[in-house]
């Protein structure tokens, strides 16, 4: 991909209307500092290049877990709960968490990716157990769940910038016609109906984790068409509804309406609630890094960061992992009874080049994200509804920003200082091109894009920024393209290969905390069963 100029960059990634609005204006004045980082790109390249050092040491353990994202950490958490403690986690990056990792600064901790968790329904046992353990939920003697008020997302939760001011909520109400509102009501009623729908076996039509939901053929049929096709077939014509649903797809899946399966698009609206009730969610200043910290604390020194797994070898019994530490240059061969590959599918297929994995991996396609954390010395000007937790710009290609201090009553820096986490999901069909674009992106270009986007709603944003840090996620979210979730590759991908087990949110086709956790726990329970440990399932 040829390097793009700033104007083309703005046009390509912020949409033509914005870029033309910027014409005549100077480029945003970048008078602050910051950094740009990405998930261990240099090491990733060596992995792809087939680098195979000779091991300097060899060791043994019961379970070797590759990847300290939510799936890997959850596998370890599950093993410990069953009394199996002889495990190690090997993480390529300098910190655990994967796309749920967070950062810290003088004003507030902040997320680098995933930043909330919807309150689980009681059937999501593993998620409920984890939240009880974290003190985010409590269960009364009658078994009813309640969630800690201090960790539930505070009101106001969302606002939307339309034309020249902010409005409460995420639907673009201003100027909506009776027909628009009619379609909105019809869609909401349909989502509520689907959330109540049960199949012949009493399973929810849509559930989180998705394993708890139905796989009936009429639902599977929804996976074969796109969300755009489904809307057309249902007679939805409102541009406002279209924007709202497209935003949901971009936000949750990093896809367009055309690039999302209707099953996945509807899953977002119908899986969390019972009849369209309140959609409460838990969030923390550092986002889901709070959960990562909790899980990592339990792992202690068994969690090793900066350890690149280059190769996984199946043995007649167990498997061997070749781990290499770029900082020391030393390589270690770890022979384990079981290995959990808790990494994206493409990476798993590279570490263990089994023909089945390689074939399946071609079907797994993931989108890229650009995330910027803006440390603000004061709040910029803002018209209309006051700052919410999630702040979305109508008509922008970005996803808007979340406010790290929304949940906290105390923060560092001067009064009014905060950290905003700004997200851009690259919804382009050609993932490889988007990935290359992201890799070539400079810090200044990323900062200009973020500022140009936010400047629409906050004209003086550039003057308020103390620093701006950028993260590039090459593999941010698996894409539930039409046909993928109910496709053969996805459905078979969870099956172990000998003593190598798989865990990652990719395996669900939906990038969600609960899916990652589910696969981590499933892989751990497969291992527990093989080791003869009897324990009630958390699935």
């Amino acid at each position: 991909m040829t390097p793009l100029g700033r104007r083309e960059l703005l046009t390509l990634f912020l949409g033509a209307p914005l870029a033309s609005a910027c014409r005549g204006l100077s480029a945003p004045a970048i008078r602050f500092e910051g950094s740009i980082a990405g998930a261990a790109d240099a090491v990733g390249h060596r992995l792809r290049a087939g680098f195979r050092p000779r091991p300097d040491a060899e060791s043994r353990c019961a379970v070797a877990i590759v990847g300290a994202g939510i799936a890997g950490l959850s596998a370890a958490w599950r093993l410990s709960r069953a009394g199996v403690e002889d495990w190690r986690i090997l993480e390529l990056d300098s910190a655990p968490g994967g796309t749920a990792r967070g950062g810290d600064g003088p004003v507030s901790p902040y997320p680098w990716g995933a930043h909330y968790l919807p309150c689980p329904l009681p059937h999501a046992r593993a998620t409920v157990e984890l939240l009880l353990e974290m003190g985010a939920a409590t269960r009364d003697p009658a078994g009813r769940l309640s969630f800690d008020e201090a960790q539930l997302c505070r009101a106001p939760q969302e606002r939307l910038f339309v034309a020249d001011r902010w409005y409460e909520g995420l639907y673009p109400h201003p100027g909506a016609s009776a027909a628009d509102l009619g379609e909105l009501a019809r869609f909401r009623a349909e989502a509520a109906r689907l959330s109540r729908l049960r199949d012949g076996r009493g399973r929810r039509a849509f559930a989180v984790p998705m394993e708890h939901g139905s796989d009936d053929s009429d639902l599977a049929a929804l996976d074969r068409i796109s969300m755009a096709d489904w809307m057309a077939a249902q007679g939805y014509r409102s541009q406002r509804l279209r924007w709202t649903l497209e935003y949901a797809c971009r936000d949750d899946y990093g896809t367009t309406l055309e690039g999302t399966s209707a099953w996945a698009g509807l899953h977002y609206f119908a899986s969390r609630t019972e009849g369209g009730g309140p959609d409460d969610l838990l969030t923390w200043p550092e986002g889901n890094a709070r959960i990562v910290r909790h899980l990592a604390r339990g792992a202690g020194r068994r969690l090793e960061t900066g350890a690149a797994v280059l190769l996984v070898e199946r043995l007649p019994r167990g498997a061997a992992v070749l781990a290499w530490r770029p900082d020391t240059g030393r390589a270690e061969r770890i022979v384990a009874d079981h290995v959990v590959l808790a990494v994206p599918r493409k990476l798993a297929a590279r570490m263990l080049p089994d023909p089945r994995l390689v074939a399946e991996a071609r079907e797994f396609r993931a989108g890229a994200w650009l995330v910027a954390n803006l440390t603000l010395r004061r709040r910029p000007r803002s018209r209309g509804f006051p700052e919410a937790w999630d702040n979305v710009l109508h008509g922008s290609r970005s996803l808007g920003y979340v406010v790290a201090t929304h949940q906290s009553d105390r923060h560092g820096g001067p009064p009014g200082a905060t950290v905003w986490t700004w997200y851009l999901s690259l919804v382009e069909e050609d993932e490889a091109a988007a990935h290359r674009w992201l890799e070539a992106l400079s810090w200044r270009e990323a900062a200009e894009i973020a500022i140009a986007d936010l400047r629409r709603a906050h004209p003086d944003i550039a003057e308020c920024v103390e620093r701006l840090d950028v993260w590039r996620w090459g593999h941010a979210m698996i894409r539930p393209r039409p046909g993928f979730v109910f496709g053969r590759a996805r459905r078979q991908a969870s099956r172990p290969l000998g003593d190598v087990h798989f865990a990652h949110t990719d395996l669900s086709g939906l990038a969600l905390f609960e899916e990652a956790q589910h696969h981590g726990i499933r892989a751990a329970e497969e291992i527990l069963a093989r080791r003869g440990v009897r324990t009630p399932s958390l699935l």
Binding site: E149, C153, R154, A155, P156, D280, D409, R410, P414, G416
Partner: protein, 498 residues
């Protein structure tokens, strides 16, 4: 000729009126009217001198220049007051802006008479010219100084007055294109410009109410004696008619005329209801008035006051008016002042730190940052730090005007595990005001108050705990951090009366 001289009268009347308007605005928002008027007059007159001096460099097309000067005066002078009003409280350095605007308008006005004299030079003998123009100039000043306080400000308000004066200048400019037609070649475009300026000013006149309501003028009926923008809020003290008032972000916090009713009612029932009164906590109440009431009780060993804004608590100590009213309560050795967010402070308080009495005196929940201080989360933390037998009093807005809001706060305290006794008191500046007395276990309302109070007496107490049908309990949801329903109730209920 008479028409030209009439124009002189109008122009000079407007010129003086801008000066008066700027002086009035400055003393209004900044207080200390002697200083403000002196400075404004001084700057304005010297700037007029500068304008007169600069007029020597205007040589060609004098008539056209004169009309252009009129249009500039019309726009700048006309919009000077609205712009300054809007800027006040929004810009960091208001005074330099004020002085710059005054100097600019003065300079332009200073150009008017010299240009006029030169334009009329060919039509009148010099001694006639000077005599007539200058006498009308001074007469215009008299007209302005009489009409400004008697007619313009009372009838139109300061913002509209300034815009109307601008329109008069624009009309003089337009009129001059005919009066001086001989000296102006192709006046068409100039007339269009005059009409455009006139249109802009008339639009301003029509929007004057909105401009005014966006400025602070609408908020205060009395002159400001102290104004301060802290990191958290705008603190304004006004004084007039024998009392003074404190406003936070434009909302009245108390009037010295009747605050004793409010603070006696807030403090003493809780003190009387508590089993012990040694350790007292005040949340909010940075004006020190609740603490003044607390210190009437000899048993009080320590008062901890937690108020977010250091500007507010230092004002309570430094401004003589306030310090006299709170009797220096915040300087009392028994009082410890903490400037922190009350929710964060409570959440981080060591578990065993208990208070016998808590007085919760936050501003009304009119935004989300205040609404969080009325949630179950907040009251649960409060409950955890209340000693056995302790009592808490919560100011809870007006049960008459914001009835659902009041009962929402009661329901929220109950949901947090408190036994609640609601009561109310009449505070003329506020109207009928509501409070909630809360303890850890069910209790009877107190029957005693300390002697020497101006409002409360043992005989009055039972009546405060009785609610007539117009304030009786209504169903309300519980206010939680994740719904902040109270802010919505409050907005809806107060909007009806505002």
């Amino acid at each position: 000729m008479a028409a030209l001289l009439a124009a002189v009268l109008l122009v000079s009347a407007c010129g003086l009126a801008y000066e008066l308007a700027a002086g009035a605005l400055a003393s209004y928002v900044l207080g200390d009217s002697v200083t403000q008027f002196s400075l404004v007059i001084g700057i304005y007159l010297s700037a007029m001198g500068l304008g007169a001096f600069l007029s020597r460099w205007l040589d060609r097309d004098l008539a056209r220049r004169f009309v252009e000067v009129e249009l500039s005066v019309a726009l700048l002078g006309g919009y000077s007051v609205p712009v300054l009003f809007l800027a006040f409280g929004r810009v960091a350095h208001f005074r330099p802006l004020l002085w710059a605007v005054v100097a600019l308008v003065g300079t332009l006005v200073g150009l008017e008479i010299p240009l006029f004299l030169r334009l009329l030079r060919r039509r009148l003998a010099f001694k006639e010219l000077v005599a007539q123009v200058l006498s009308l100039d001074y007469l215009g000043a008299l007209v302005a100084s009489i009409l400004f306080p008697l007619l313009f400000v009372p009838r139109l308000g300061l913002v509209r007055t300034s815009l109307v004066l601008g329109a008069v200048n624009a009309l003089v400019g337009l009129w001059s294109t005919w009066l001086l037609a001989d000296d102006i070649r192709r006046p068409g475009l100039l007339r269009v410009r005059c009409l455009a300026v006139l249109g802009l000013l008339l639009a301003g006149v029509l929007a004057a109410d909105r401009i005014t309501s966006m400025s602070e003028e609408a908020l205060f009926t009395d002159p400001i004696v102290h104004a301060r923008q802290s990191a958290y809020q705008r603190i304004v003290l006004t004084a007039g008619r024998g009392s003074f008032q404190l406003f936070l972000d434009g909302n009245l916090q108390f009037s010295s005329a009747d605050e004793y009713r409010y603070h006696e009612a807030l403090v003493h029932p809780a003190m009387a209801a508590a089993a012990r009164r040694r350790e007292v906590l005040v949340l909010g109440g940075g004006d020190g008035l609740a603490v003044r009431e607390l210190l009437r009780w000899p048993e009080v060993a320590q008062v901890t006051l937690v108020d977010l804004d250091p500007a507010m608590t230092s004002l309570a100590v430094q401004v003589p008016l306030l310090r006299e009213l709170n009797r220096g309560s915040l300087l009392d050795p028994r009082v410890k002042v903490v400037n922190e967010d009350a929710l964060a402070w409570l959440a981080e308080l060591p578990p065993g730190r208990l208070f016998d009495v808590a007085v919760v005196d936050f501003p009304d929940p009119n935004n989300y940052s205040l609404g969080k201080l009325y949630t179950t989360r907040f009251y649960r933390l409060l409950r955890a730090h209340l000693a056995p037998g302790g009592a808490a009093a919560v100011q809870a807005t007006s049960p008459l005007i914001a009835r659902t809001s009041f009962w929402c706060i009661a329901a929220t305290l109950e949901a947090a595990g408190f036994a609640v006794r609601p009561y109310h008191a009449a505070v003329p500046s506020f109207g009928e005001w509501g409070f909630l007395l809360a303890r850890l276990e069910p209790f009877a309302p107190p029957a005693e108050v300390p002697p020497g109070l101006r409002f409360l007496s043992p005989a009055l107490l039972p009546g405060l705990f009785a609610f007539g049908p117009d304030m009786a309990r209504v169903p309300a949801e519980v206010n939680r951090l994740d719904n902040q329903i109270l802010v919505q109730y409050y907005e809806a209920e107060w909007r009806r009366v505002e």
